[in-house]
């Protein structure tokens, strides 16, 4: 819920700065490992945007695929499970280099 509220806050502040009167569409980047669930964000966004400039706007969610970088051999791979096992060397010390995004990317206003 607080994530949806932050999205509305960010969108409204940028819309006001641009002198817009209405927010038509907000595009989010949501990583596979961001900790936020797209469906929940959508659900909460509808409730949070009521009575704001973002009411009735479309929430578009770009799902960003996770990418891990093996600390042992430098291979980048898509982690299939919660345990990041490098498919090349079997090491488990991989760090995410993509997939943690939780960002308002852009929006359409009028």
């Amino acid at each position: 819920m607080s994530i949806a509220m932050s999205i509305v806050d960010i969108a409204e502040s940028y819309a006001k700065r641009e002198g817009a009167s209405k927010i038509l569409k907000i595009t989010l980047d949501l990583g596979e490992h961001s900790g936020a669930v797209a469906e929940s964000v959508e659900f909460c966004f509808d409730a949070c945007s009521r009575g704001t400039m973002a009411e009735g706007s479309v929430l578009e969610i770009n799902r960003v695929k996770a990418e891990a970088l093996c600390a042992g051999c430098g291979t980048t791979f898509h982690p299939e499970t919660a345990i990041f096992i490098c498919p090349r060397c079997g090491d488990i010390g991989a760090n995410l280099v993509a997939g943690e995004e939780l960002q308002v990317h852009k929006m359409e206003v009028e």
Binding site: I7, G35, I83, V104
Partner: protein
Amino acid sequence: MTRSVITIKKDILAKNDELADENRKRLKEAGILAINLVSSPGAGKTSLLVRTLNEIGNKARFAVIEGDQETDNDAKKIEATGVPVTQINTISACHLDAGMMRKALDTFDLDSIDTLFIENVGNLVCPASYDLGEKMKVALMSVTEGEDKPLKYPKMFRVSSALVITKTDLLPYVDFDITAATDYALKINPDLKVFKVSAKSGDALLELYDFILSGAHDL
């Protein structure tokens, strides 16, 4: 009016992260080690804290921030140990955020604290994403839970520096596989320091106290 597209690229948690950085700076200036305790509800955070404060409360100057949706029940238990405590009731939120933490910090004389425990709201999901400005997160997991918690909630175990498996006195009565639990957690985060304790029997608490009083400062 014509339609236009605005590029924003702003992190949704940016405001929280800015406040967390301010908190971290204040804590650092005051020389405070802040430990954010995170777990499911009922893992035994408060019981472990109460026993810890009763046993080593005279070895450092402690303070506690208690986070719960409602009630000051936990704060009263901490208060009974004689350690300063501030209760935050999050009401509708399922986690503490850096703004709440800042207000709680304002209630203390920071120069008279060495170690600050933050008992987060019992929840293994959202508190993983909200930096409060702490030095580290310590995750708790009790033996009455499933041993696959680290696999189900990997982010929390990935962002934590230590894992405390609690209620080990109950191991003879439950099917919890402590070896598998440890193995799962270390596969998620090979750098985790793992403690296996019982706040009831006191088993293995000394090792944890050593970590709180010295080891955690070096991490």
